[in-house]
């Protein structure tokens, strides 16, 4: 069974802390994505990567960075967490190229910044 796993289901951090969210997929997918999900706003793309060491900004990259050192792992970094980054964070992966519309999602990390 294909799988996308995220390092934590729930996370509580303090304002100003550096936060790392980890995502691992076992499907040998080239594309990986980080979204945040907020009520009434749907899913918004933060960053994506189409290959190792490659990254592209999504719609809301401010305050975030990413790292993709290995094909199976895509990390989201909050350099200095703020309360407006309290949200559900979802990681997804998909096979190579732009022709596949099916993204496989992890269960999400609910981050609370106090």
């Amino acid at each position: 069974d294909v799988k996308v796993t995220q390092s934590s289901r729930y996370l509580v951090k303090r304002t100003g802390e550096k936060v790392f969210l980890e995502c691992v997929q076992d499907m040998d997918h080239e594309n990986m994505f980080w979204y945040r999900q907020d009520p009434g706003l749907g899913l918004r793309l933060i960053y994506f990567s189409y290959d190792v060491k490659m990254k592209e900004k999504g719609d809301i990259p401010e305050g975030y960075s990413v790292s993709r050192e290995k094909k199976e792992r895509f990390s989201l970094i909050l350099e200095s967490a703020s309360t407006n980054q309290t949200s559900m964070y979802l990681c997804a992966s998909s096979s190579a190229g732009t022709g596949n519309n099916e993204q496989f999602f992890g269960p999400g990390t609910r981050l609370t910044v106090l």
Partner: protein, 112 residues
Amino acid sequence: GESVGLHLPTLSVQEGDNSIINCAYSNSASDYFIWYKQESGKGPQFIIDIRSNMDKRQGQRVTVLLNKTVKHLSLQIAATQPGDSAVYFCAEKEVDDYKLSFGAGTTVTVRA
């Protein structure tokens, strides 16, 4: 920017009835339209997609309709079951783009 949105945030359906979930879009450059289902505590899961050169596509118990004239798409679920209770998102994608743009979602509740 342009956005994809759903007409209604919630939908209550009697078990066994058909469900219709609507979505309006505004990006004329979108080439694919996709539906995802998110059950409680899980990430979204792909249901079905349709390309802009089609107006109807059927899957297992689901049908997606696309009306490009009024920039509207819908997801029809036949014989709705309790397991269909979830949040449904429509999404759009331009050709040769990696990115999906999601709407706000519709919460479907199935009444026994």
